[in-house]
């Protein structure tokens, strides 16, 4: 095939034996001791650092049609805030974009890791905020439970009330943000303080934090 691209796979293609040396990764499945592809895409072979085994995966040219999994970092937009929970729409999983947004819910006790009794959702999120959150195991149909109880998670983009469209607030502490134009301060659960120009650095940061969190895992 085309050498520049790599080895092309299509669903059902037998890729290799499945044993200690070769482990089935994303885009593949195991059946009767072999690894098969589930997606049309390009074969990727990576070495796992710990076990020294080769992870076989298939990379699809477009975002695979799968849903957020427990442990994934997602980007979501807050839709409803009330005294018990925060509802949001999940827009991205890691760096890949979802065509259809999925409903997420962030319970009051999952917002922060400290001071759990005194969390007030109103002081952490407002509708329209863009947040980073981690997916918790799914227990309810149609709702993904999320958590922001980590330093890197929380609000990344927020517009203060009364500010013109597109002017985002800048974090000034871990619990407060300020609009650079109107100087209005509002409380938020900030996702680790990001320096100056938030719009440009946000994506890099979110990606970095993604990587970090995956490494931690």
């Amino acid at each position: 095939m085309d050498k520049e691209i790599g080895k092309i796979c299509i669903p059902g293609m037998r890729l290799s034996l499945s044993n200690k040396e070769f482990i089935s990764g994303p885009g593949t499945y195991e059946l009767k001791g072999y690894i098969y592809a589930t997606l049309a895409g390009i074969l990727k072979m990576e070495e796992d650092e710990k076990t020294k085994a080769t992870i076989i995966s298939v990379e699809s040219p477009r975002t695979p049609s799968v849903l957020p999994k427990a442990g994934d970092i997602v980007t979501a937009k807050v839709t409803v805030v009330n005294s018990r929970l925060v509802q949001c729409m999940i827009l991205c999983v890691g760096s890949s974009i979802l065509v259809r947004p999925y409903k997420g819910v962030l319970k009051k006790e999952d917002i922060k890791s400290t001071d759990k009794d005194r969390i007030d959702p109103y002081k952490c999120f407002r509708p329209g905020d863009v947040i980073l959150a981690r997916v918790l195991p799914m227990t309810e149909i149609h709702w993904y439970h999320l958590s922001t109880a980590e330093n890197e998670l929380g609000v990344v983009i927020a517009v203060a009330e009364g500010s013109p469209q597109g002017i985002s607030m800048v974090p000034i502490s871990w619990s407060e943000m300020q609009c650079p134009k109107t100087l209005v301060k509002e409380p938020r659960k900030v996702a680790r303080v990001i320096p100056e120009n938030i719009n440009q650095t946000m994506f890099k940061d979110s990606k970095e934090s993604n990587k970090e969190s995956i490494d931690v895992k």
Binding site: T75, K77, L91, C92, S95, I97, V99, R100, V130, I157, Q165, G166, N199, F203
Partner: protein, 284 residues
């Protein structure tokens, strides 16, 4: 990266493009998308056309039936146009009966055809009060990427232009009907109505007119269905429709009328050439 930006800051993303005098798909404000037209590719229909305006794809098929004319209009035939927006053409539609949006677009298209008077219903009458043609023109949208009405009108008018009616003999005494599908006469089509859609985007200092908007642009400019549609048949107007959305100052209106005139010429050329060749062509 850009995609994430688009998702999180939809308005700002669009604004960034517009304020730089370019549209997200690289077109200029008044640049239309390519039109691809293919006629008579479906054999089960009496006449058919497939049209692609950019990504927007519409298939039109005409089927013929016979019926007795309405009592109040004994020398008129029937022209029944319907637009189907199946769930497969966009993630926004649900399977089931036609949505309100589908009905509105359907009404718009048939309204334009009726207003343009491009088909004289009297031509469809075979024997007054006894027998008349019923033209079932069904349009199906396979891919809705904005400016749907434009594409529907092109598909409909091209298939009408290729339609050839079989000869019918009617015995007044025995009321026997006999149809000979081998001898056919073309249907008369008067003029050639062309619709052009515009979206109006409101920047703080001025309003921007966007010709032939994609579905994404329609959404950003006050929602789907708030297009300004100008329809001209030869040099006459046969419908200017606008539904809410951003307001339209008089200057922009002048501009829109001019653009739609030019576009009508282009589309006319496309259809004429296609009909002459009866094969696929790519124009402009």
């Amino acid at each position: 990266m850009a995609e994430i930006y688009k998702l999180i800051h939809p308005l700002k993303y669009f604004n960034d493009y517009i304020s730089r005098e370019i549209r997200p798909d690289g077109r200029k404000f008044h640049e239309c998308r390519n039109i691809k037209l293919n006629v008579n590719s479906l054999k089960t229909a009496e006449a058919s056309a497939v049209v692609k305006c950019g990504n927007t794809t519409v298939v039109c098929g005409i089927q013929l039936e016979l019926a007795s004319p309405k009592a109040e209009e004994p020398d008129f035939g029937y022209l029944v146009t319907n637009l189907e927006l199946p769930a497969l053409c966009s993630s926004k539609y649900r399977p089931g009966p036609p949505s309100d949006h589908a009905q509105v677009t359907n009404y718009l298209v048939s309204n334009i055809i009726v207003n343009s008077k491009c088909i004289d219903l009297k031509d469809l009458c075979i024997v007054p009060d006894k027998l008349a043609w019923v033209l079932y023109c069904d349009m199906v949208c396979l891919d809705n990427d904005g400016s749907l009405v434009d594409a529907c009108i092109i598909a409909l008018i091209s298939s009408l232009k290729t339609l050839r009616l079989p000869t019918v003999t009617y015995d007044a005494e025995t009321e026997d009907i006999n149809v000979d599908p081998d001898i056919r006469t073309p249907l008369k089509v008067y003029g050639l109505p062309v619709a052009t859609s515009f979206s109006v985007y409101k920047l703080p200092e001025r309003d921007i007119l966007i010709t032939d908007p994609s579905i994404y642009e329609e959404e950003m400019c006050g929602g789907i269905g708030s297009n300004f549609i100008v329809c001209s048949n030869q040099s006459l107007l046969c419908g200017t429709q606008k539904f809410g959305g951003s307001n339209l100052p008089p200057e922009s209106q002048e501009e829109a009328l001019k653009i739609s005139r030019d576009r009508a010429n282009v589309v006319e050329k496309v259809i004429e050439t296609c009909l002459a060749n009866n094969c696929e062509i790519n124009e402009i």
